[in-house]
Every structure is written in C-alpha cells, then in structure tokens.
C-alpha cells in the first residue's frame, strides 16, 4: 500500500475532487502559506468550479483567491479570520454567497457535530512520513503546533498531507497519525519560512501602548485571579506582550506560581514558563521560532487541538479553565460588544479567531486598545460588526481609563478601591470625542457579504458590502 503521490494533481484526482465540493486548509503556515494557492491553482487548471474553501484563516498571501472567485472556481469561503487584501475584495462584493465566519472553537465544534462537512482536507505538513504521520515541529517549514489541523484530519472525508520534508517511516513524535491520512504529496516548498513565524516577537516601545498594558496588568492584579494556580492567555501583539511582562513582574514579586498559559504562544510566554511562572503551556499555535523550539524540546509545552482549546461541542475545553485573557478590538460599543472583523470604514480585515471563545470561557476578559486610533474614537454607539458579544467582555482598558461591564459590579468595586481610573464607558466615549470629534457614520451597502456565526453556530451578525464612494 502506498499513500505517496507524485504531484498535487495526482492527489486531487485520487481524492476525487469535483465541482461543488468543500475543501479545507489550516493556517499554521500563516502569511507564508503556499499550499492553499497551489491546490487552487491546480484545481482551476483541471477545470473544477464551484468550490467552497473552508480555511481556518485567510491571509494576504492568499490574494490569488480573488481571481479564483471572479472565475467561478471558488464560490464560497468559510474561515475564522480574513486578512485585509482578500477582505477588501469581499467587502466590495465580488462573491455572491456570503463568507461564513466562525471562531476557532466554533469551526472545530461544527466539524465535530457534523454541522460543517469537509470533502477533502489539504493539510500543509512541515514533516511527514510516507504513511501520513504528520508533525509541525520539524523540517524547513516548521510551524510548531498543528492545533487547527486536527479537526480537519479527523472529520474530512479524505485527507491529503502536503509536505516538503519527508522522513522515513515511522515519524516519531507525530501530532496527527496515519490513521487519518489518505494521501501524502511531497513538494519542493510548502511555505516561506520567514513568513510562517516571526524571528522574535517584541514588546511594544510605544509609551501609550505600555501605559495601557500597565493598567491592564493592574486590573489583573486587583481582579482577585492573580494567585497560585493562575491561568493566562495573551496575544502576540506588542501591547499584549507588555501585559505579560507586567504580570510576570507582579508574579515574581508576590511569589505566585501559575498553572498554565495558553493560546498562540510566543517566546515570551515560553520564557515565563521556563522561569517557573507557569507549569504548563497549552499551545494551539506557535508564533515565533522560540515557541517552535520549545514545543519540540519541552515536555511541559503541550500541543493542543482547536477542539481541546475551545470547542463548544466538547464536554469541556481549555478555555473553560482559563482565568484571564487579554484581547484587542477595532471597535467597542456601549454594550461592550467588540468588533474585530472590520476596520472603521467597514472593510473586512480580521475575524474572531479565538476572541469570542476565550472571552466566553475565561473568568476575566480584558480588552486593551488605545482610546483613539488614527484620529477615530475606539468606543462607538454600535459596532459595525458584533464579533464578540458584550455579555462575555468584562473590562475595556484604554490609556485614559478603564470601563467595567456593569454586569461585573464586584470587580468594578475592587478596581475602584485599588485606586484605578474606572470610568463609565459613556464617559470614555465622550473623552475621545472631545479630542477627535464625532466621526461621520459609515455608509454600508445592502448586500450581505459575510455572516458571523457565534461559537455555538448561531448567527451573531452580518457584514454588508462597503458602498464605494
């Protein structure tokens, strides 16, 4: 028995790709991914049409998708995040069917319960053996964790692994095992290593970003959750990392030992764990080279699937045990709803990813963002897109003050008692508008270009096209 295919075309043919099918991809190759483009180019050359692309994320490198949409090769996209290049085209209304946005946990959960069906999964595999044991930890295109690929491997009808680093059978330390994989294709390169991960991720030097991070860390300190057993997730952005730095200083000072840190993992979180501030790293995605090295070498650095991370269909997921998460926002409204899907002009440029999963699961969800960004106030009457429901958001931290969700009265009292600058969210909005003015409302068109599904699969919001000026 041989699973090894000579070319991507051969694998596509063997897997039986036909018009109208749904094919899936994971995004661990991030903005360096070649696999999605290679597969679509081949499918287009074969004359296949009307495909649905279910990718955990779409990045700018996937710009060729725009032509495939215009040519009818791709007629629908399902994803959890979409970068600005493809996002802008979608917002301009180039596709008939709306994009379906899910969350990281929601995508895995929908596959698990059969609400989202995949005909063929094409899995970029930085390391594979001829029988389809797969790992992200080794090879020239190493990406570390393969967290978002597990559900595709387990639930797609056919699974094709695409690798540029084929090793003899058996690959030790495989993340996805051969039992799930139908075919293996070796290609020259599955991605651009420089764009798969960052060399290093750095803490911001922007004084305003640092001030926001300092205040967010104070919120963590006085929330009551910063004690032995503390669990924590923060993003890879400079300001989120700065929160981690300040939290680390507090943990060191008060001799606090945390239980786990989670999420997209950076070298900074690895260092915190290595210094003993956390027992375990739960890693669904690695963001830099240090994180990849750590997941390969450190037995306490555990790879977890998107299901284990955040699936609402599972009996429990790691987000349900998370104490504190630090998240970003492009807009927040007076009901604490958060937009991370569109920019302030209404163009798609993001997505929930794990935003609403972690906000829902964690005990304390903190949004950090500057009160004014590029002359536009952060806080608006109504967000252009409801990505994360306000009921799950606890605190908004800006450089001019902290707004606490009225549902969290006890937390609000604690923060006031600690002397932190707690303000009503309306007051923060007014402050920003006094400086930047009230922005003119954004005019959206009538066509629905995207549906935003909440993690349980219900419709949370729709995104309309942007009316061209």
């Amino acid at each position: 028995m041989s699973k090894l295919m000579g070319t991507i075309r051969e694998a596509i043919e063997k897997a039986g790709l036909k018009d109208g099918m749904t094919i899936s991809f994971h995004h661990h190759m991030r903005n360096g991914d070649y696999v999605l483009n290679m597969v679509l180019e081949e499918a287009a050359a074969m004359g296949i049409r009307d495909l649905t692309i279910n990718a955990s994320s779409i990045f700018d490198i996937h710009e060729p998708l725009i032509e495939h949409i215009k040519n009818g090769v791709v007629t629908q996209i399902e994803c959890n995040y979409m970068g600005g290049r493809v996002g802008k085209a979608i917002s301009q209304g180039i596709m008939e069917k709306p994009v379906i946005f899910r969350t990281h946990g929601g995508r895995a959960g929908d596959m698990e319960r059969g609400a989202s069906r995949i005909d063929i999964a094409f899995l970029a595999a930085p390391c594979a053996d001829p029988m389809g044991n797969l790992s992200g930890k080794y090879g020239p295109s190493a990406c570390g964790s393969l967290g978002y690929a597990f559900s595709d491997a387990m639930y797609a009808k056919k699974v094709v692994a695409v690798t540029d680093h084929l090793v003899p059978y058996p690959l030790q330390d495989a993340s996805i095992d051969e039992g799930y994989v139908d075919y293996v294709v070796q290609t020259e390169q599955i991605g651009d290593p420089a764009r798969i991960v960052s060399g290093t991720t750095k803490i911001t030097r922007d004084p305003v970003g640092l001030r926001i991070a300092g205040l967010a860390a104070q919120v963590v300190k006085h929330s009551g959750y910063l004690k032995n057993g503390f669990s924590f997730q923060t993003g890879a952005g400079g300001a989120s990392l700065a929160v981690a730095k300040y939290v680390e200083e507090m943990m060191e000072k008060d001799h606090i030992k945390g239980s786990f840190c989670m999420g997209g993992i950076t070298g900074y979180m690895v260092d915190m764990a290595n210094k003993g501030f956390f027992d375990t790293i739960l890693d669904v995605q690695c963001f830099d080279l240090k994180a990849i090295e750590s997941i390969r070498e450190n037995p306490k650095h555990r790879e977890i699937s998107a299901m284990r991370y955040a699936s609402p269909a599972a009996k429990s997921a790691a987000v349900d045990s998370l104490d504190v998460v630090i998240l970003g926002a492009t807009q927040v409204d007076l009901d604490f709803n958060v937009n991370v899907h569109t920019d302030s002009n209404g163009y798609i440029m993001g997505g929930s990813g794990g935003h609403s999963d972690t906000a829902a699961g964690s005990k304390l969800a903190i949004i950090v963002a500057p009160l004014i960004r590029a002359r536009l106030p952060l806080i608006v009457d109504r967000v252009l897109c409801k990505s994360t429901p306000g009921e799950t958001v606890d605190v908004i931290v800006t450089q001019r003050g902290i707004a606490v969700n009225p549902r969290q009265k006890e937390l609000r009292d604690r923060l006031i008692k600690a002397g932190l600058p707690v303000r009503d969210i309306r007051e923060l909005k007014k402050m920003a508008e006094e400086i930047a003015g009230v922005p003119r409302p954004v005019e959206m068109g009538d066509k629905v270009v995207a549906q935003v599904l909440y993690r349980d699969g219900t419709l949370l919001d729709t995104i309309k096209n942007v009316a061209e000026i």
Partner: protein
C-alpha cells in the same frame, strides 16, 4: 515629571495619561531651531483643547538670550499652564525678567496676575552657587529644578551614573529650596534601558530631600513614582501616629508615645507629609 518634546502631537495629546504627576512640554532642547514655531503652535493648541485637569503642566521655554523666549510666553501664558520653566538660570535677575514679562502677558490676556508659577532650571555652576538667590527672587518661584547634564558640561567634568560629580549641586539646591519653603526636583536619569540604575539614583535623590524627579522616558515614570510614594507600612505608621495624637488629646496626655517611642514634632510633621502624599496619590491625579 515627564519631559515631552513639544513637536510630537501623539505625545502631547497623551501626555497626561503616561502616569507622571507633571508633564513638561519642551520647547527648548528637544526642538530644533527650525521647528520652534511648529512646536509652539502645537503646545499652545494642546493646552487650549486638551483637558489636563488631572496633571500639572509645565512649559520649558527657550533661554532668555535667544529670540524665542518671549514668543514662547506670548503663546502659552494665555492658556494658563501651571508653571513656566526658564532654562540656564544663573541668578535672581533672570527670574525677575521672566516674571515681569509673564506679568505683562497675564495682564494682556486678562488672567489674574501671579497665577502662573516659575520652576527655574538650574544647570550652570553660577546657577548652583546662586540657588538661594534664585529661590528667593520672586513670589512666582515654586521650586528649583536641577539639570545635571548641562551642569557637568559647565563644570568640565564627566556625567556618570553614580553621580558623585553632582552631589554638591544636589544638596545645595535642596537646601536653598527648603530654606525658602519651596520644593526641589532632581535631574533625569538618562539611560533609558537601565531600570536598576534608575531606581538607585531615584532612591538616592529621595534620601537627599528632593520632592520628585524628572524623567525623559515614559518607561521611567513607574519606578520614580514608586520610589517617591510612601510605602504601605509608612502610610499605616502615619495613620497610627495621627490616631495616637487624637487619643492622647482625648485623654489629656502631654507626652504621647507609640510603639514605645515618644512622638515629637518632627515625627508628626513627617506623618502629615506622608498622609498628604497618600491623598495626592490615591485621591486622584494622572494615574
């Protein structure tokens, strides 16, 4: 006290959010001669449109031997900054000259005379020797401010992290200020990356009697605030002192002791200072 270049809009607009008790908008060294106009307009507009009510605002103006200083005062005095910082102050005469011109602009703008205070920047050997003369020169003078970098250049010596070379200037300045009943503020620590060095230098300045310290990086604000803030134990002790005094009064005692030690006037004065700082820190402000 955080120095912010007068020609950086993002810093001016956020100047009051960076944790410092005082924002010093700089029109002098941080601004090149061809940018002076732009910086002056920016600072004026920031003062006009921005609410700095939670933060004290000082404007550092250009030296009195340049063509800029009067224009600086013309632009900013009508907007009532808390203080003006004249630079390279070498004697009381210079302060009286600046004060008189501030008075003229105040009068022209219909502002109550004397409302804008002066915080002289002393950064020459002559200035240090005349510290008392400067401190007592005019009713507007609210404090003395040491500039260690220019001072060491004037002294023909090297500026070091240890700061032995400015020890005399520091103590002379604090003594002159205290003799006139005003505050003294210490020179910035200029290595932006060296947080331990900053802490040591700040602790030393506090031990000499300085009331605060300038910083040139927002990243230095927290450590300086921490060093100059009373500790929880100090606050608790100050409350205990005041409680013991109240209790003593009620019982009609002449001599009051706390934890086996007699409470005398200096202890009470120190406790009052700590409680005033507690009020200033926790009762509002920039943070």
């Amino acid at each position: 006290m955080l120095f912010l270049p007068g020609n950086t809009p993002n810093m001016l607009i956020n100047g009051d959010t960076l944790g410092a008790d005082t924002a010093i908008f700089d029109l002098e060294d941080a601004v090149s001669p061809d940018e002076k106009d732009a910086a002056r307009i920016l600072v004026r507009n920031a003062l006009k449109y921005q609410d700095f009510s939670g933060c004290e605002v000082v404007v550092r103006i250009n030296p009195t031997d340049t063509e800029f200083w009067k224009k600086d005062l013309d632009a900013v005095i009508p907007l009532k900054p808390d203080m003006i910082m004249p630079t390279k102050v070498s004697g009381g005469g210079m302060i009286r000259e600046v004060s008189a011109y501030i008075g003229q602009v105040e009068e022209r703008s219909g502002i109550e005379k004397g409302s804008v205070k002066i915080l002289p920047l002393i950064e020459t050997a002559l200035g240090v020797e005349k510290a008392f003369d400067i401190a007592s020169s005019d009713g507007r003078v609210a404090g003395l401010f040491l500039g260690g970098e220019d001072f060491t250049a004037d002294m023909h010596c090297k500026r070091t992290k240890e700061g032995q070379e400015i020890f005399y200037a520091r103590t002379r300045l604090v003594c002159a200020a205290r003799a006139c009943g005003i505050e003294a503020y210490d020179t910035p620590f200029t290595d932006v990356e060296d947080m331990e060095g900053l802490r040591t230098d700040t602790e030393f300045a506090k031990s000499l009697g300085f009331a605060g310290k300038a910083v040139i990086s927002p990243r230095h604000v927290d450590i300086v605030n921490e060093v100059f803030s009373p500790t929880e134990a100090e606050i608790e002790y100050a409350h205990d002192v005041m409680d013991a005094i109240e209790e003593g009064k009620r019982q009609g005692k002449g001599v009051i002791s706390l934890r086996g030690k007699m409470i005398d006037a200096p202890i009470v004065k120190r406790a009052r200072q700590v409680l005033e700082m507690e009020q200033a820190i926790y009762g509002g402000g920039c943070r």
